[in-house]
Amino acid sequence: MEKMPHWVDVIVIPLINILLAFIVAGLVVFAIGENPFDMVYYMVKGALGSTNGIGYTLYYTTNYIFTGLAFAVAMHAKLFNIGGEGQAGLGGIGAALVLLAVPWPHWTLALPFAVLGAGLFGAAWAAVPAYLQAKRGSHIVITTIMFNFIAGALAIYLLNGALKKPGQQAAETRHFGEGAHLPTFHEMLSPFGIEFSKSAPANFSFVLALIAAVFVWVLIWRTRLGYELRAFGNSASATAYAGISSVRVTIIAMLISGGLAGLLAINVVMGEAERLILNFVEGAGFMGIAVALMGRNHPFGIILAAFLFGMLNQGGFELMWEMPGISREMVFVIQALIIIFTGALVHMTRDPIERMFIRMSKRSA
């Protein structure tokens, strides 16, 4: 036995890291004079204690699944796509254009086109950095970051001009209309006699996110394109030898990545706000990086990590209500600690635990 069992690596270690993060966060909370156990209690209760809380948690989870998958697909080709934020923003514009253009009769009709619009706009926003990386060698980290700013500016421009609802001050479009309304969890579950909070924003997009995760899994591990993507991500020199075009792989990987990020808009713009508003991505694009990191770029891991981050987000909001001593910034600190422990410091726990397992297996052998 040369390594520890796989399940330890993917399950036990993340759990230990989360625990460590909470211990350190607890110390911080303790240091500002609050009760750390209350903190954990209110966070978990806020995230999972009611169907309303769960509804919010799943709503955020949906966002993180999309952006986590987006980051992971690019990462399999070793492309560091930090542009999820901007690509999601463009996805919102794409979805809004589709939903505003036609008075949709029913959401089942509107959804495929909205997906297309959001995906294509997100993909198109990723295409430019991809092209610059593939053909010009402009580093994708730099260009995607810059494109986030351009996307933000573009949204402001459009929402103050062409897309703005006539006769009002707010920078937002008009309501998409009833025909574009996605079923919420309340509407989906009540036919089965399950009571779910009416006000929770979780909607059909969650199902779409799960489908996207399956799609990514199949793409990466079952198709020739996924094979080429992973090969390129592992060794660019070997793919050149094999005759796999680096330009093609780079551009396709980024298009898929951008498209997935764009789908976030289905959840937020179409599912929740039902109109395009400013800054609707709210950092989910960046959070996707942490989600993918923690989920080891595997769709299943991403779903779990997205759920954890969804809980943190929702639990954090509730925490602010329940414990006035803990500010919004404090919640960020707690979330950041978790990201640091599960992402950046993963080897701190991984290596000693691996050694421990090898020692144990030696003794039993």
Binding site: M1, E2, Y227, N234, S235, S237, A238, A240, Y241, G243
Partner: protein, 521 residues
Amino acid sequence: MTAQQHSGRPDAAAPAIELRGISKAFGPVQANKDISIRVMPGTIHGIIGENGAGKSTLMSILYGFYKADAGEIFINGTKTEIPDSQAAIAAGIGMVFQHFKLVQNFSVLENVVLGAEDGAMLRPSLAKARSSLTELAAEYELHVDPDAIVEELSVGHQQRVEILKALYRQADILILDEPTGVLTPAEADQLFRILDRLREEGKTIILITHKLREIMEITDTVSVMRRGEMTATVKTSETSPEQLAELMVGRKVLLRVDKTVAQPGTPVLEVKNLRLVDEQGVERLKGFDLTLRKGEILGVAGVAGNGQSELLEVLGGYADATGEALLNGARLPLSGAGADGRSRRNAGIAHVPEDRQNEGLIMDFMAWENVAFGYHHDSAYQKNALFIDNVGIQKEAEAKMQRFDVRPPNPKLRAKNFSGGNQQKIVVAREIESKPDVLLIGQPTRGVDIGAIEFIHQQIINLRDQGVAILLVSVELDEIFSLSDRIAVMFDGKLMGERMPEETNEKELGLLMAGVNEKVA
């Protein structure tokens, strides 16, 4: 640890290095098992063994890179702890690595001083080093211009800088790891003269190599390692290459390849006036010509870095060049559309690249994924229009691994977990079984153990006998001689000359490889 250890030997009878019972495990892998060795001062001691036998681990322990799990190190009779390389240097041990550790854009002097500066200001250190280099050059005939920039030096001279670095740090014991891998035969001879001279001056040298010929030529004693154990230590004068090979592998080994006379047929691949300028603007191929016939092995000899790699890259479809190329009479594109690895494979050119770790294999992919690599578009590997046939490829990989004796024959093991020889067998199996018209094969046995070398050579000969045209590029003259039906020598991006193996010798090829054509001179 005192200074007396590298000023004279307190006890002339004590070995310069003695290792007692050294053991080292990496996880469950026992890299060194209870190794004891005595190296007498003023001798050259060879260590040979297959890849993965534990030579490098042993030397890394001696140089302080690894800590042994058990065992003791005695330097000149004194028990010494070597926790890091600083301690090794202080104990008078110097190491010349296979891949030089030089700052390319520094001068020789700056490289020698690097890490051994006396103070914050550089000037006094440099002045001291300059005078010391002059002395060393005179004493050991190690002449290098101290102001030359390292990247402008030949490989042989760069190696001298490495030796000078060690001597400047007052090393009495020099460890050389595969020192001749990158040298021309002439440069290797010069190195051996230097080593001879160092021995005469009382230095102790440990030479790690896999070349039996070098062991026989220069060492006084030789230790053989196999699977982490020291299987024998013998006086070189009392052994033979055959015996050493047997000790290394654990069974009798054929050192020469059995082959019949080639029956060359019609030309398959014709290349004319091949030119390539690399990204730095350096011309790597300067009008290279070549004709390759059916059923022959054309061996391309040359010192590494004279355009052979670029030749393979161009023919393999992943470097652009100008010139003309015909494959079976049809034009073969050398740049742009159709000049890629996939088109080459479709045209019948298979390629075992020089660098299996960075080109031939994806080290993090499992063996079966690597078996399809480059051929993943083949219809046999598709399940349907959408999906790749993972299960089918796994079965195919398992069969290939059986046929080519890849150990362990487990298609789900990652490439990086196989030994060098078995990695190479995976690549060779994939390329040979694609049934090519032309096989390009670069350094087929670099870093491959003797047992696997024998096997791979036999596969190449068999392929030739089936009528495949084979272009063999190797920096190992032994390999060129034992496989080639015709030898082309490359120097500075050009063809220096062609020879038939039975009508030439190492000396003549060595001169050609160094750019000297006696017919011209």
